[in-house]
Amino acid sequence: MSDGRETTENRERARGDAFRQAPLRPPQTVMRLARMGAFHQSRLSFMRVLLRRLKSEGWVIDRPVFDIDDRGVGVATYRARGPQATYTLVAFAHQLDDDQRSDRVIAEAWDATFTLCDGEVDAAQIDRLSGNVPKQEAGRISESELVLSRANKSVRLFSHVVDQLAAGRQPDPEMIESVGYLFRTTAVYGAGKFGAADRSQWSARPEFTGSFQPEMLAVWLIRAFSIDIVEHAARMKSPATAIAMDPDIRRRLGIGNSTGLGMAPFLINHPRLINSWIAARETALARVRALPDATMPQIEMFRQLTRRAAHNAADWHVADERQMARIERLCADFDWIIARADRLSPDDELPWDALYRAAEAALSLEGQEALVSLMLEPHAALVDGLADCMHAEEDVAHRIDGTVPAGDVLAALESQYDWTDSIDYDSPAAQARVWYVSEEKLEPRLGERHEEPLEPYEQPLCPGRDAVRMRRDLASFDPADSLGAFLLKHPEHRHMARRLQIVGGLEFGEIRDNTIGASMIPIDLLRCKLSFFGATKFDPRSDRWLRITMYQGAPFPDELATLDPDDLVYPPLDEAAPA
């Protein structure tokens, strides 16, 4: 029977599904920044969820408008038509001087700007959008639009591809692989931002079940635009000799993305949503671990994919020394994984559980989490339905139950935040950082508390510290009196009191680490979120921003009917180095 708690299992029970599963990994294992910062994309990643749905529902994509001049300036539209709805990406192509090209949020001009519209668009709407979308944050969109985005070229690769195609040659696959994209987005805004439709206006639509589906659709269509614009540039350069890109080379081009601290607070500010994502992935793992045996086709698929994933890891090069060391260890972990995969047999009992248990002892966190994602691959029937549980309604003013006795609140804090016992928040290192929003950038930033006058501007992004402070004040409050009475005296704890009641029913709602400590690495927060998007090739550019690739290997709109998007995430084995 459902116990009414907000768990993935209860949601699935409500839908009439029931699967056998092993115990979930405990939150004290999963919800650590070091592990979350080692997550990899999986069958449950939102890009894969989107493409599976578009394929199974037979969505048709076309390009009603392509009005781009010989300088590469103009507008194009990409229309996606499904069984019940139509969406249109409007893409504006601009000319941008190199000295204006910046991935940072303070930029004011881009190589291309985009909006995803609800339904078809006409000339009047394109005209309205042309006065706003190119301005991005300084413009306004309406409730007819769902997503606002912009992208800059990878100048080096774009020029190479134009030159090659114009001369009638295919681009160099090695160069394609080393960059991985022609354009990288520097922001993808949705859910009510800058005037766009609020999430509540479209979240009930079946095609947007899950998380970030409009944003994922926009980025996939931007990828199609990135190819069209480079082929157009080649045709303009040399109409007589220009050729189109070979589909196999083209598919190795994804869309890049630069992401900085602006995304970091998201995981802390959306505990219900994060819980739904992590619980779905952990439930998927628990189901696979509970399987009594493995079939030969499953084993063969797993062996193939481990080799392809190893190839992918071997191709993953970054300048960041910390990440490069982790990648080298991951490559060694893959040798172990491949060797274990080769020993898997249909006669083994609980083979996946045994594999995972052995990996826990043998592999790095990168290796363990890569294995978790790979173990889900041969089990679509057990895993893919969980994607429908990966959403949550968040309410900034979630109503506090003020009638709870203060003594019970203190007990709840002591048990739910027991992990803070090992952190001495009175030590300077434990509160070394402060999250704030800068006046200059209007974006979340991380500063040094003891070196800069930032504390008055602190954002509430340190639940562990705030829980400890609330415990201290509760300890000297009458335990029989109510939480409401406590909050009248201590309104400064109202945020934490609400959070406590929200995360109380969530197994994976809270990160069990100090988010303001001296040793906290902000990109761990970014990578966790981006792995759920389905990003690959994480490329830290500092401890606080990184580049990633999205949709690398995925089918293009004209290939969706004939290719399996789930099979294309890892490079094909015939290109892979021998294992």
Partner: protein, 196 residues
């Protein structure tokens, strides 16, 4: 161009914090403004009026904060009328419209907020005290909800509130830290080229 209610609530959160209230009360303000605009009621004007009365010396210094009083009502620490027809005085309250969302949470959902001049919110006849300044308020136990659930169908903040958006943006600005040379250097990615 109109605003989404999501961004309106996000602005209300930052503005309330910028005006000096705790983050938890700022969240209540965001929720209240969202609730009111869903029902076509000018929550952003009321919040604007309240924050101005807080931040600028006025003659209403003794008026209660609608957010503190509202949370006391929704938290169950303030007396509420329990029998039909019973009334309870709340005293003088700033921008009383902001109290409405909290009053609506009082079980069983049929409590009414009234000010001299009538039950304005139910009939859309605005008394200036609902939005700016202050008014003596009462709670009255009734037999039906003051604001019917069916009213909660608005999805946008109309253009007419652009002035309130500007004012709240000013308060929100107070939550932003001025840049220092150190914070510029530590910024996300300074000094790296993006022309690659």
């Amino acid at each position: 161009m109109s605003w989404s209610l999501g961004e309106t609530a996000a602005l209300a959160l930052k503005a309330t914090r910028g005006a000096g209230l705790s983050w938890g009360l700022a969240e209540e303000a965001a929720g209240a403004v969202f609730w009111l605009h869903q029902r076509g009621l000018p929550g952003i004007s009321a919040l604007c009026g309240y924050l101005e009365s807080r931040c600028v010396a006025t003659t209403d210094d003794d008026a209660a904060c609608p957010l503190v009083l509202g949370t006391a009502l929704s938290d169950g620490t303030h007396a509420v009328p329990e029998q039909v027809g019973e009334r309870i005085d709340l005293g003088t309250v700033s921008a009383p419209l902001l109290l409405l969302p909290f009053v609506a949470t009082i079980p069983p959902g049929t409590c009414w907020l009234t000010v001299p001049g009538g039950d304005d919110a139910a009939t859309d006849k605005w008394h200036s005290g609902w939005l700016r300044g202050s008014a003596p308020c009462q709670l009255r136990h009734s037999t039906a909800a003051q604001i019917a659930h069916t009213r909660a169908g608005q999805t946008r903040l109309p253009d007419q509130f652009a002035c309130c958006v500007d004012r709240l943006t000013g308060y929100a600005h107070r939550t932003y830290a001025p840049a220092t040379s150190q914070s510029r250097l530590a910024g996300a990615g300074a000094g790296l080229t993006d022309n690659d």
